[in-house]
Amino acid sequence: MKVLVAIKRVIDYNVKIRVKSDHSDVDLTNVKMAMNPFCEIAVEEAVRLKEKGVATEVVVVTIGPKAAQEQLRTALALGADRAIHVETDLRVESLGAARALAKIVEEQQPGLVILGKQAIDTDNNQTGQMLAALTGLPQGTFASEVAVEDGRLRVTREIDGGLETLELTLPAIVTTDLRLNEPRYAKLPDIMKAKKKPLEVRTPADLGVELASRIKLLKVEPPAERQAGIKVGSVDELIDKLKNEAKVIS
């Protein structure tokens, strides 16, 4: 079975995000970029499926600028077999990404598609669901466990009330939650070898998709600074403060 994994280049999660002084966008100059952490989990899961003999090939795909090839190479170092780069300098929205991915799915015919449940840049949590709608494939989002049994996919999902288990027919779409697995560190020799693995560059035009933005970004504001909290000595003091200072209970 071929597994397709979609990954995204985002601001490194350790970086403190700054807004440009004209509030037009987040400031990306000289900012460290990395693979979206949920996508790392997706790559890890695909590689584990390959190690278990369930997957035969792992293909990673990203839609983004030339520099995003660094994240594809990272995925190749982690164990993916080949990469597809849909190159664009446009700001890619969930629907645009889903449309491009739908074309790739059509071409590659994977048995399983794994995506992160969201990317930590804009936290939209949409691409996987939209891809499922566009391809008409079943979806298991927020996965904390994935198993292929008798040609069917069992996905344990993290939902508000606890855990839910779904059984999906393949091919299917899975989006990863944090507890699905703990991604490994790439083996250094594999990082060196990643350069030799195939990486195919495509354009939105040759896929026949339009990525131009339909959403206009008007203004970006950092969240309001919060006052430092205090430690209270006792439950009584807490109740007193909630009643008399915060006035949230009576």
Binding site: E70, T74, A77, Y185, L188, I191, M192, K195
Partner: protein
């Protein structure tokens, strides 16, 4: 020389994440237990950290000097004990075999060193021979197609864990000094070897050194590195020459870590109603440290690039080792100062780093020995 910028960036990012997420959170545990946890060792093996400098044909990464120092900048940002554990296989424990070993010696040992299956140690120093290494007394007397090794080696890093030792010993007692010395690969299981108790060190808990005592240790003549007598001292000096740039880079990394910690502390700690980073006297310490680290980093990179270009860097490597390690101690001292009383108690990493980095100025040639090398080279060049 960096062979491929993009690949190197991924490699450095990967090592940085490993240092930040896997190693830094375990520093205190290592300091308390005086042990590198087994799960960390196996992660380091899986990643291939033992074989950075060993060529690809023997299962390593075969990094260039410039690549190596960039990696060392990253590894230097955590407790030197972690680095020390992988350090001998990447450095003094393997380079002798790599530079001067026979093809058979390389094929036998380098793959095991690259994978971390075995550790290695470098046995030069003795109780009565430190800086004056050429005066060493350990003997290797030829006995048919074997040698009998006798002597005591001191402060040998990773000796309690080593599978093989590179041992410098005198094969010709008639020749005093360097030319009577040969280098051997001695397997740790050879009868007659005793490892002393671990030394109680000032810092770098988790990294172990001990005496290695050779009592009539019989090794085959194939254990002689390069199967050549009398060139062992040259081998040892070549090993140390390369090691100096590595240590200098580690010192830069450690200084960067201490400065990061100190800056964060200075911005959080309030006195006189303001963060202490508002005070110019604190700012001066931060700025001096920053500039010195930058200088050392540039020196290390320059020397590494020259070495990759095939130039002799004896002077530059000694300059870099001397400046970077002395600088690191100054930065650590300022780090403690910026932390105030908190810098003297072990709740903050700076107290530990202050002790850990002290070693850099002593081993692989003390600062004074670097000065001797630099000035001797200068005078020799001026005489020509």
């Amino acid at each position: 020389m960096i062979r491929d910028q993009e690949t190197m960036q991924i490699l450095l990012d990967s090592i940085r994440s490993f240092v930040n997420e896997a190693l830094i959170p375990r520093e205190e545990e290592v300091a308390e237990t005086d042990e590198i946890p087994e799960d960390i060792v196996s992660q380091m093996r899986d990643m291939g950290l033992f074989g950075l400098t060993i060529p690809e044909e023997f299962g390593g990464l075969g990094v260039t000097m410039e690549e190596e120092v960039n990696i060392a900048f990253e590894l230097g940002r955590t407790s030197p004990a972690f680095r020390s554990f992988i350090g001998t296989n990447n450095g003094i424990g393997s380079i002798g075999i790599l530079l001067d070993g026979t093809e058979e010696q390389k094929a036998t040992y380098l793959p095991k060193l690259a994978s971390g299956e075995i550790l290695s140690s470098f046995c030069l120093t003795e109780p009565d021979s430190g800086s004056d290494a050429a005066s060493l007394r350990t003997t290797a007397v030829r006995d048919g197609d074997h040698y009998l090794i006798n002597g005591t080696k001191r402060y040998i890093t990773n000796a309690p864990h080593a599978g093989i030792f590179t041992v410098m010993a005198r094969t010709d007692p008639e020749i005093k000094g360097a030319k009577g010395i040969s280098a051997f690969i001695v397997e740790a299981t050879t009868p007659g070897i005793t490892i002393g108790k671990c030394d109680k060190k000032m810092g770098q808990k988790g990294a172990h050194t001990a005496d290695v005592i050779f009592d009539n240790v019989r090794v085959p003549s194939s254990a002689l590195i390069g199967e050549n007598e009398g060139v062992g001292f040259k081998t040892a000096m070549k090993v140390l020459d390369k090691g100096r740039l590595h240590i200098a880079a580690i010192a830069v990394g450690a200084a960067e870590r201490v400065l990061e910690d100190s800056l964060r502390y200075a911005m959080e700690r309030k006195q006189f109603g303001r963060p202490i980073s508002d005070f110019q006297l604190i700012q001066a310490m931060l700025a001096d440290s920053k500039a010195e680290i930058y200088a050392a980093r540039c020196m290390v990179l320059d020397a590494a690039r020259r070495r990759d270009d095939g130039l002799s860097v004896s002077t530059e490597a000694s300059c870099a080792k001397m400046f970077a390690t002395e600088m690191c101690s100054r930065v650590a001292d300022r780090g403690v100062q910026i932390h105030g009383g908190a810098g003297y108690v072990s709740d903050y990493a700076v107290e530990r780093f202050y002790r850990d980095v002290r070693l850099f100025r002593l081993y692989e040639g003390t600062t004074q020995i670097q000065q001797v090398i630099i000035s001797r080279n200068m005078i020799r060049e001026a005489q020509q």
